[in-house]
Symmetry: C2
Subunit: 386 residues, 2 copies
């Protein structure tokens, strides 16, 4: 499958802001496109909007068939009629992040000043703050001045924290899930391995691979494999694969086997890597991992995270998972402490799970009940008619 | 620096066994070369020999200047006159493992049947058991039928366990350090990412890169970077680098920066990757990671590790480090339990350290005192004159 062509051929619901957008790095995007999907109906007083912020490799196709992969939405269990985020009650919005590759302005976007030329690696660096400002443009366009809730996991959780810091009066409830208020040295290190794997692929061509269509598929696959290990727990890998073996392919460029065998976990990782490159753009991956690495909310507020939330009236639910070693519970606890110092209204739930960081995307009934219960309580406080 | 040429140009002290060696995979090496170094003097009754088994990317240059890198030996703090492994008292041996790239038979070795042709990826798969059998040939050649002690960390610790299992009467004391009796699914997964990074480098050329000298340096560097993260703890990375930044290189094929900056941890990882390729061979890396992945000692003994040690008279010291997440303390504890079930004489020490898996290579005074104390006690029990 030809990746960029496929990503390009798909059309996405979107809105174009012709005045563009100023970025934190000082660059000005001459035009801003935000691709998005909505589920449910906005009520008369526009008070039932829920914004979902997606993670690094996810997108706006939350609760419907994905137009590139053909697979179910990434949060079908959570978003829908009667689900924890009930689309019979809430108007749910999710947009592709700025810098992404599913229709919002990013490295795959054609440059206005040079038709036929894509941004590629010349796309300006974006921050989590830039992503959130683009989302704010979209929600205003949709007629929403105050969101009932903003929620998301991982990079999505970073956006949630940034939303409240930037727009304290625009968020009634905030749910940062399986995230941290900054990227740790170890997190940066794993991202850097992925980036170097992309740079090492000669098909990356200094980022101009879109010109001849030879894409850095092998480098991007290695990046995905490395990252994927960090999304799972050791327990989950052991439970799913242990040391089970299967026959190895004969091709020595694909595998080095012993006794003609390979481990199932190897086959699984290769599959994760090879399917990823059909649905994701390498330059977007570089752009978004960089944005995550630079995220350090306290640094923008005199080094004290509490300053980001002083006087906030937003109600918070923090969720972490016991076996998440990418964003361990200690990081959520540290956010909870900062919120307490700021006098915020905060609940914090650590969900027992052996599924690692990816638990927020998987079938975790305790997590889903927690989401539903918190949103119901907030709706009552907000006087939202059910 | 031209890597293979440099590795090739260096001559190593070695012994050649012209009758070769049968491998577990069924292949027969027509000739076996074992490159080794010794420190101290063998006593009159040949009872003071200590064999050090090295880790994946280490070699026989334990306590002297390395002939390729020019750096100190990897265990200078531990091995030497008056050091925990006292060369005034013990005759210390370390050999390059079978499949390695520092003079012992491995992928860099010329094939007898085809002069000018190296083994490369046609080198037969080797196991930890094969490594140990090659070491046994060396120690017999040196006139030693019984080793006073066998010790090593990581892959070296696997060899220690295998030594006692294969040659129960040939080891008075065994010190498996920071290791496990099998490789976990997560360990295999990280190795597989490294292997795929090598396979993805077009300069790997299906393993025949030795023919034209274009070596898969970028792929091997990515493999090393990924592995290196697993050798450190999150605490160590945070303590050493945190989120400190430095100026980024201007070359966009090397870095994607934000505001012209990059993180120090990225620069450190790149340095780790780029220096590694000057001293290590990619095909050796493939061979040795595969051997580690296949290590599962209990599987060779009806699934019960205790069976590997029934009736052993060897005295064991197991050492783990609190922040080691590659071979966590739980793995050492599980070995200790198996040894207890086998009725073995076993001590187990968990060293508090925030340095991660690499702690066994670093300045850890508690660890060094533990080593020295255990060896002194064993020497007394063995009636070894000091």
């Amino acid at each position: 499958m030809d990746q960029t062509a496929t990503l390009d051929r798909v059309s996405h619901t979107h809105v174009v802001f012709e005045d563009g957008m100023a970025l934190e790095c000082g660059a000005h995007l001459p035009r801003l496109t935000v691709a998005y999907r909505t589920y449910g109906r906005l009520n008369a007083d526009h008070s039932n909007a829920v914004l979902i912020c997606h993670a690094l490799t996810m997108d706006q196709y939350v609760a419907e068939r994905h137009p590139v992969t053909g697979k179910d939405g990434w949060w079908e269990d959570v978003v829908g009629p009667g689900r924890p985020i009930d689309t019979d009650r809430f108007f749910v919005i999710c947009c592709n992040v700025l810098g992404g590759c599913m229709g919002s302005t990013g490295p795959l976007t054609e440059r206005d000043e040079a038709p036929g030329t894509l941004w590629g690696t010349d796309f300006p660096p974006v921050t989590v703050g830039d992503m959130v400002r683009a989302q704010k443009r979209l929600t205003e366009h949709l007629g929403i001045t105050r969101l009932f809730a903003v929620l998301g996991g991982s990079m999505g959780g970073m956006q949630v924290l940034q939303w409240v810091a930037l727009f304290p009066d625009a968020v009634f409830a905030a749910l940062p899930i399986a995230c941290a208020a900054y990227h740790s040295a170890q997190n940066i290190a794993f991202h850097e391995v992925g980036r170097q794997a992309i740079f090492a692929d000669p098909d990356w061509q200094g980022g101009r691979y879109w010109a001849d269509g030879r894409k850095p598929a092998r480098g991007l696959a290695v990046a995905r494999m490395c990252a994927h290990i960090t999304y799972l727990s050791e327990e989950a890998l052991t439970r799913k694969f242990g040391r089970r073996i299967q026959n190895a392919p004969k091709d020595p460029t694909e595998a080095i086997s012993l006794f003609g065998e390979m481990f199932e976990v190897e086959s699984y990782l290769r599959h994760q890597g090879s399917t990823f490159v059909d649905r994701f753009d390498a330059n977007s991956y570089l752009t978004l991992t960089r944005a995550m690495d630079y995220f350090d909310l306290a640094a923008d507020y005199q080094g004290d995270l509490a300053n980001a939330f002083r006087g906030t009236k937003t109600r918070f639910l923090l969720v972490s998972f016991t076996s998440d070693w990418l964003f361990p519970t200690a990081e959520s606890r540290s956010i909870a402490r900062a919120l307490n110092r700021a006098g915020a209204n905060v609940s914090f739930v650590e969900i027992p799970s052996d599924k690692g960081h990816d638990a927020f995307l998987l079938d975790e009934p305790d997590f889903h009940r927690t989401l539903a219960g918190f949103l119901a309580g907030c709706a009552e406080h907000a006087g939202l008619r059910s």
